[in-house]
Symmetry: C2
C-alpha cells in the first residue's frame, strides 16, 4: 500500500490550538483503519516565522512541499503585527495559486445539536456544497492608483477570468452535482451589474452545462442568492461561484447552519500535480487565540476531507480512507449531539476536550 506524505502547518493564532486536535484524530483514525500517513511539521507560513526572518516562508518552500500529497493547514494571519498582503499573500494565497489548487470545496451542513440561527430548520434540511474558484477572478493585485494622494485620485482594480480557470471549476461543479441525488447546480453570477466578466462566466456555464443534460442548472445573481441562502436554504445542492462570490457564500452558508466555526474546506488540485491543502474556513481568530477555547471541529472535519481526497488517488485502493472519513464525520455528528461543547456552541469545554471526545468516538 501507498504511504501518504502530509505537511502539517499550524500557522497563527488558534491554528496552533486546533491543528493538534486534528492531527490527534487523524492519528487515531490511522491506527484504527490502517492508514499510512506520514506527517512532517513546518513552523513557517506563520507570522511568528515572519517576525523572526522577515519572510513568511523560506525560499525553497516549494521544493520542501512539492513531494507532499497534502498540506494540513491551521490558519494564518495576525492583523496587528503583519499586514494581510504579507501574511496571506505570502502563504495561503500563494499555495492556492502556485500549487494550482483551483477548487475550493466547502460543505454546508446543518447538524443535530447545533443551534440554527434560522427558524424552523431541522438537521438534514441544509446539506450542500459551495464550489469556489480558487486561483483567479477578483483576487488580484493587478491595477493601480492614478494621481495618488490628490483630489483626482483614482483606483483601478482588475479581475481576471481565464477560460481554462473558469471551465475547470464549472466542470468540477457539474460533475459533483451529477454525482448527487438531486443533481442541482446553482451558478452564482452578477451579469446585470458586472458587465463583462459575469455575462461571459454565464456563457461558459451554458457551454459546459451542455455535457451534463441531467443536471438542473439555475443562474442566480449574487445579491438575491445571498437572500435565498437565508430564506430558502433547502433549495441548494451544489453552488458554483467565482473566487469572491464563493468566499462570501462559503461564510454565509455555514453561518446559516449555526457557526462558521465548524466549516471545513479543501483547496484541491484535482489533477494531483501539486499537493492539495485542507484548512478550516475560520481564520486565526486573534480575539480568542491563546485561550485554548477554540472549536477544533472545522479542523478535524478538514482532516476527514483530506482522507476522502486521498482515497481517490488514482491507482490506490481508497476503501479504508473512505471508511476513516465516514467514521470521523460520524464522530463529529455524535459529539455535536451529546459531547462536550466549546463556547461558540454555548458550552464551556476546551479545545482539547472536544478533540479527545471525537478521537474516542472513532
Amino acid at each position: 500500500t501507498r504511504k501518504f506524505k502530509i505537511a502539517a502547518i499550524a500557522g497563527d493564532g488558534i491554528g496552533k490550538e486546533v491543528l493538534p486536535e486534528g492531527l490527534k484524530v487523524l492519528e487515531v483514525a490511522a491506527r484504527r483503519f490502517g492508514l499510512d500517513l506520514e506527517f512532517t511539521h513546518f513552523e513557517w507560513a506563520s507570522c511568528d516565522y515572519y517576525l523572526k526572518t522577515g519572510t513568511m516562508m523560506p525560499d525553497n518552500w516549494k521544493e520542501q512541499l512539492s513531494g507532499m500529497d497534502a498540506i494540513y493547514f491551521g490558519a494564518v494571519g495576525w492583523p496587528a503585527t503583519v499586514p494581510d498582503h504579507i501574511s496571506l499573500w505570502g502563504s495561503l494565497l500563494k499555495f492556492r495559486r502556485e500549487f494550482d489548487q483551483y477548487i475550493n470545496l466547502r460543505p454546508v451542513r446543518l447538524f443535530d445539536g447545533v443551534p440554527c440561527p434560522l427558524a424552523n430548520r431541522k438537521p438534514g434540511d441544509i446539506d450542500f456544497y459551495v464550489v469556489r474558484e480558487n486561483t483567479e477572478g477578483e483576487y488580484t493585485n493587478l491595477g493601480g492608483i492614478m494621481f495618488p494622494g490628490t483630489e483626482r485620485e483614482m483606483v483601478i482594480q482588475e479581475s481576471v477570468f481565464t477560460r481554462t480557470g473558469t471551465d475547470r471549476v464549472l466542470k468540477y461543479a457539474f460533475e459533483l452535482a451529477n454525482s448527487r441525488k438531486r443533481k442541482h447546480l446553482t451558478v452564482a453570477t452578477k451579469s446585470n451589474g458586472i458587465a463583462i466578466s459575469m455575462p461571459w462566466w454565464d456563457g461558459r456555464a451554458d457551454a459546459i452545462g451542455k455535457d451534463y443534460p441531467d443536471v438542473a442548472t439555475d443562474k442566480q445573481h449574487i445579491d438575491i442568492l445571498t437572500a435565498r441562502f437565508v430564506l430558502q436554504p433547502t433549495r441548494f445542492d451544489v453552488v458554483v461561484a467565482s473566487n469572491l462570490f464563493g468566499d462570501i457564500l462559503s461564510d454565509l452558508g455555514p453561518a446559516c447552519t449555526g457557526t462558521i466555526g465548524l466549516a471545513p474546506s479543501g483547496n484541491l488540485n484535482p489533477d494531483r500535480n501539486f499537493p492539495s491543502l485542507f484548512e478550516p474556513v475560520h481564520g486565526s481568530a486573534p480575539d480568542i487565540a491563546g485561550k485554548g477555547i477554540a472549536n477544533p471541529i472545522a479542523q478535524i472535519w478538514s482532516g476527514a476531507m483530506m482522507l476522502s481526497f486521498l482515497a481517490d488517488t488514482p491507482g490506490v485502493d481508497g476503501q479504508r480512507y473512505r471508511e476513516a472519513h465516514d467514521a470521523i464525520l460520524a464522530a463529529i455528528e455524535q459529539s455535536l449531539k451529546d459531547g462536550p461543547r466549546t463556547a461558540d456552541l454555548g458550552g464551556n469545554a476546551n479545545t482539547v476536550q472536544v478533540g479527545d471526545a471525537i478521537a474516542q468516538l472513532l
Copy 2:
C-alpha cells in the same frame, strides 16, 4: 410654498402593479398633510417601450427629467425579451450615473407581523441602514476579452474607485451614523483578497473617519460580514459599502427581516443638482407579474423615503413632508401587524387591497 415635480415611471412587470398603489398612498398623504406634489407619468424606461421603439428611453430623456425633483420608479427588466445590458444599463443604471445619484440608501427593519427567518429575533432588534455607493466601483463595462472563442480566452473586468466617489459616500455614511443614537458604522471591505482597491477604500474610511470622533467604526470583510448579518443582526446601525457589496448586503439584510418584498430604496443625489430616484429593491418579478398579487409595500415605503428627502430641500419648510413620511411608515407598520397580506407574507390579499388598506390608515 414650493411645488415638487415628480416623474412617475412604472417600468416593467410588477412595477406596473405596485407603482399605482404607491401613487395612491402619496396622493392621500398629499391631501391629508397639504403637500404640493405634481406627478408626470412616463411610459419609457421600460422594455415595452424598447420593443416598440428600439431604445429604452427617448433621446431627450435627460431634458424631460432634469426639471424634476424626484423620480418615483417601479421596476425595470424583462429577462426573456430584452437583455440586461440593454434594459438595466439603458435606464436604471443610467439614471444612477448620469443623475449622479451617488448614495443608495436602503433601510433594513424587522416589523411586527412579518415572520422573521431568523430564530428568536423581535421587532426592534433589527433596524439599520445600508449605505451603498451607487455610481462606480465594480459595476463597469471596462475591460475586455482577449483571444475570444479560443482555449486561451481571457477576460479582464475593471473596477473603478475615485476619491471623489468614495469620500462622498463615506461622508454620507459617517454623517448618518453620527446623527443616530448608537453612532456605529460598519465599513464593508475585502482588503485581504482584493489587493488594490479595498486596502485603498479602507484608507479613505480612516481618513474621513478622523472628522467623526464620536462614531465607532468597525471594518469587516464582506465574507464574515454576511455571516454576521445572520448571526448578529442586532449589532448593525449603519453599514457602508461599495456598489457590489452594498448590492449584496441590501438584499441579504431585508431577507434577514423576512422578505426583500418590503425593502425600499433611495437613489440619492444629495447635492440636488439632479433628481433623486426612489424605487423598491425588488425587481420586476416576471414570475408573478400580471397577477395582481405583488406586495406594494416596498413601493409605498419608497414613496415615504421620497417625502423625507424632499423635506430636507434647502429653503423649504419640510415639516409637513416629514409628518407625512412618519404617517405612511406608521400605516405600513399597522397594516403589517393586522391588515391584509399578500402571498409573500402568507396571505391572499391582492396588491390593490394592501394599497387601499395603507391609504385608509393615513
